[in-house]
């Protein structure tokens, strides 16, 4: 409870914050003799507003301690009597004003801190389509989404997660379109989170995932408001987290990994070609090095003669067994990828030159690996980059397949494929089958938006697996 004496209050606040150095407490007196105390966290608030619009009118004009609202013009001014709430709000960037002789405090929202400007996200670059991406500030992110869905049906629900971090988290959905079962499930899982700190949306993802040890992630994330808008308009739920540009979206289907936002902005023919290429690269990326090893070790009769001769010629003088050779190349590739990612830009050049050396002609000339291995591993890596959403899982799947191929040839690859397929298709995301529309089969979904992309006017219905009642998306302008 707030005391009438501001001295007591000041002492209490400071004790609560353990005399932290960035908490500012300032006692002053108005021209009419009313004593006041303001508290705020340094750097969290707008100093200009504090000086001009709060301190100045209070010092010059506060006569009656009841009439503080007539001097401070802000819609976000609240009265609070509970001390713990005041402490809580201070760390969210509010200003607390204690007036001597009143048993309450005024909380004014004048928070302001440095933000990154809205930029094109690095991971989801597009040629055609909006280029703005989310930033770290949740309020800005929400506005970005509402600018796309200007409907009263767009609803945000706020949460505070983490005992220490008290991270602002919001779920967003379109009322009337959202799958209520999924929404209820999201609410239930979020409310069960009880952790000291949420640092990034990845933490939430792991805490609410269906099968946290699964190979593929069953929660998608996006950095672009148009992607989030498109997905929640299909009936999904988005989870915004303060402090990160990555917004989580549930439920996720496997095929979303093969889709990009740009597919829906360019003409459907080319989009279909791209879809086909991505499907192909999914298989190339997982299986090509494995098949290469299996053919080389067990099924030489399946290689075309000319290729066999040049492959054998390339392997002459290579000291390592084929499996080890591929592993060395993959390790070199992953090292190059990782170091290129973390290094400061100024020495990024060095990495690319060194990378080209160890992954290229020099490695072949040194006789450590054969030229064919370099090509196979590089193709697999390039294929992986066309599906960034699944890329992490692909690396692991590829290594598993290589080991199996080294042990048992095509037989091993088949076993690996079966295990992977069974695992992937048995996943669920918030009660929705992850493998839809491949298994469970849905011809409508398969035909229109899986390995090909139908024209927008043909996509009359929303994905059925995400919906429980509101299927129709449009009345198409053309009739067949």
């Amino acid at each position: 409870m707030v005391s009438k004496d501001i001295k007591v209050n000041k002492e209490k606040i400071l004790t609560c914050f353990h005399y932290t150095s960035d908490l500012t407490t300032y006692e002053f007196e108005s021209n009419y003799g009313i004593k006041m105390l303001i508290c705020y966290i340094e750097g969290f608030i707008d100093r200009k507003i504090l000086n001009d619009d709060i301190l100045k009118p209070l010092v010059l004009g506060l006569k009656d301690r009841e009439k503080i609202r007539q001097l401070i013009f802000s819609p976000k001014i609240e009265e609070e009597i509970l001390f713990e709430n005041i402490v809580d709000e201070l760390s969210h960037g509010k200003l607390a004003i204690f007036v001597d002789g009143e048993e309450k405090a005024y909380l004014v929202e004048i928070s302001s801190w440095e933000k990154r400007s809205i930029e094109q996200p690095g991971a989801e670059a597009v040629v055609r389509g909006p280029k703005e991406g989310f930033i770290e500030d949740i309020a800005v992110n929400k506005v970005l989404l509402r600018r796309i869905i200007r409907s009263n049906n767009l609803v945000f629900e706020n949460y505070k997660l983490g005992q220490q971090s008290k991270k602002a988290v919001s779920i967003a959905y379109v009322k009337g379109v959202v799958n209520e079962d999924v929404l209820e499930e999201v609410r239930r899982r979020l409310s069960k989170i009880n952790i000291d700190a949420i640092l990034e949306s990845g933490n939430i993802e792991e805490l609410i995932e269906d099968k946290p040890m699964g190979l593929f992630s069953t929660i998608s994330n996006a950095e672009k408001p148009d992607v989030v808008a498109a997905k929640i308009l299909e009936g999904r739920v988005a989870i915004f987290t303060d402090g990160t540009p990555h917004v989580l979206i549930v439920p996720k289907l496997f095929i979303e990994g093969l889709q990009t936002s740009e597919d829906y902005y360019i003409r459907p023919h080319y989009a279909s070609v791209l879809r086909f290429l991505r499907t192909l690269s999914l298989f190339i990326s997982i299986f090509l090095p494995g098949i290469f090893i299996a053919l080389q070790l067990y099924h030489q009769e399946m290689i075309p003669t000319t290729l066999l001769i040049s492959a054998a010629g390339a392997r002459e003088g290579v000291p390592l067994p084929a499996v080890l050779e591929v592993f060395i190349m993959i390790i070199a590739l992953e090292l190059t990828k990782e170091s290129g990612l973390r290094l400061p830009k100024s020495i990024g050049m060095t990495v690319s030159i060194v990378g080209a050396l160890i992954l290229g002609q020099a490695a072949v000339q040194a006789g450590i690996v054969s030229g064919l291995t370099v090509i196979v591993v590089s193709i697999a890596a390039i294929a992986e980059f066309t599906i960034p959403d699944l890329a992490n899982a692909l690396v692991i799947a590829r290594i598993v397949i290589i080991v199996l191929a080294g042990f048992a040839g095509i037989y091993g690859i088949t076993i690996g494929f079966i295990i992977m397929a069974v695992h992937t298709l048995s996943l669920e995301s918030f009660g929705v089958a992850y493998g839809w529309p491949i298994a469970p089969r849905d011809w409508e979904g398969l035909r229109k938006d899986t390995f090909t992309r139908a024209p927008i006017w043909k996509m009359v219905f929303r994905p059925k697996v995400l919906q429980n009642y509101n299927y129709r998306r449009q009345v198409p302008p053309r009739k067949k």
């Binding site: 067990y298 009769e301 040049s310 054998a312 030229g371």
Partner: protein, 402 residues
């Protein structure tokens, strides 16, 4: 619990299989052609093994031989091939064999009886072509390459493949050979490879002594059962290929039916290019006599005309078609006659047709079929269609006159 059992089983499957049959590429001696001979009553195997280094980067410019030849001898094929391991550093890998060459002597002793191992062994490829070294040992024809291909095996395989440009050669692989061997009322044929010294005209640009010889696959080897009995010449081979429905291309040359008879010269010939061919064999019994029939439907394109014939005229095309049909009929009749008289074996598969058509009668004559075949009358019906005339209609010299 179920999960644990499943995991255990899967782990067992993966780890118990192991890599016992894994073979690194640089442990293999990849053979592309293999030859079989009889020497001192023993099997002599000659294999042409690729030296893979010749294709790699470092070998560019160096004179590295593209192939090595190894030989092994033994009582069985397997013994002979293991004999090779005593002299050669790599294990013979025969999955990529394109051609298998048999020496004449080996083929005369009976082919099928002695190649059991080739079909028992999982490595051997049944699509390899069967060739008989005419009048020679298999190893004598191996290693000769007068083509552009660096690897002699490819050279042999390609000249057999050229059947699509000239059907005067036999293109038979293991599956076909054995299928024909097992057929009742049929005897197999096989391709032929012959070593020839290059004649004058081929000596242009000849630079090395090893290039003095070339190979030819002209002709066909005729078998009785699994024993080689003789060879057909080029024209007969072409006719046999016609009846066996194996024509995939090639040309037909016939005397030009010229417009004005006085200008007709015996040396005037024309050629058509085969586009498509379909042959139907048939057998009929009339008055207790067996009649062998073949019906050929041929689509061709005019390839060359020497003589005064304007093919823009439909009637002239008819004449050409008739002349072409006649030439084929004559050739085939001659070939069948020669087979009937000389070899007395049914290599055309008329017996198979007979078996299909008169299954009851077949049982009675089954053992005498070759005799019946060699005495039977042969009827041929060729229907040629010239569907294209080439870029010009009138013969070239006539355009000049006008």
């Amino acid at each position: 619990m179920k999960r644990k059992i499943l995991t255990t089983i899967l782990a067992t499957i993966i780890f118990l299989t192991g890599c016992w049959d894994a073979r690194e590429l640089n442990e293999l001696g990849i053979s592309l052609v293999i030859g079989f001979d009889i020497e001192d009553d023993k099997v002599l195997i000659t294999a042409e093994i690729i030296n893979p280094v010749y294709s790699s980067e470092e070998a560019k410019g160096d004179q590295i031989q593209s192939v090595e030849y190894v030989q092994g001898i033994g009582n069985t094929i397997l013994e002979a091939s293991r004999d090779i391991t005593l002299k050669f550093d790599r294990r013979l890998f025969i999955s990529h064999n394109k051609v298998v060459i048999f020496g004449e002597e080996f083929a005369k002793r009976g082919l099928v009886k002695n190649i059991d191992q080739l079909l028992r062994e999982r490595e051997h490829r049944e699509t390899a072509k069967v060739l008989i070294a005419k009048g020679a040992k298999a190893y004598e024809v191996m290693g000769i390459s007068s083509g552009v291909e660096q690897i002699p095996a490819n050279y042999i395989a390609e000249i057999v493949n050229n059947i699509k440009y000239n059907p005067k050669t036999g293109d038979v692989n293991f599956i076909q050979f054995l299928k024909h061997y097992y057929h009742e009322g049929r005897h197999p044929v096989a391709g032929v490879v012959e070593k020839k010294s290059k004649d004058e005209i081929n000596k242009v640009g000849n630079d090395g002594s090893d290039k003095d010889y070339e190979l030819t696959t002209l002709g066909m080897a005729v078998f009785k059962g699994d024993k080689l009995v003789g060879y057909l010449n080029g024209n007969d081979t072409k006719s046999v290929n016609f009846i066996l429905n194996k024509i995939r291309g090639g040309i037909i040359t016939f005397p030009t039916p010229s417009e004005n008879q006085e200008a007709e010269n015996l040396r005037d010939f024309s050629s058509t290019v085969i586009i498509e061919n379909k042959t139907k064999r048939d057998v009929e019994i009339i008055d207790n006599k067996v009649i062998l029939k073949a019906k050929i439907n041929l689509k061709t394109s005019m390839g060359e005309i020497i003589g005064d014939v304007d093919v823009s005229n439909t009637e002239n095309i008819k004449k050409m078609e008739e002349a072409c049909s006649k030439a084929i009929e004559e050739g085939i009749t001659l070939a069948v006659k020669r087979v009937q008289e000389e070899f007395k074996v049914d290599i055309f598969g008329f017996g198979v047709e007979f078996h299909k058509k008169y299954p009851d009668k077949w049982k009675e004559i089954r053992d005498d079929w070759d005799q019946i075949f060699s005495e039977a009358e042969f009827q041929i019906n060729v229907n040629t269609k010239i569907i294209r005339t080439g870029l010009i209609n009138t013969p070239l010299f006539k355009i000049k006159v006008k």
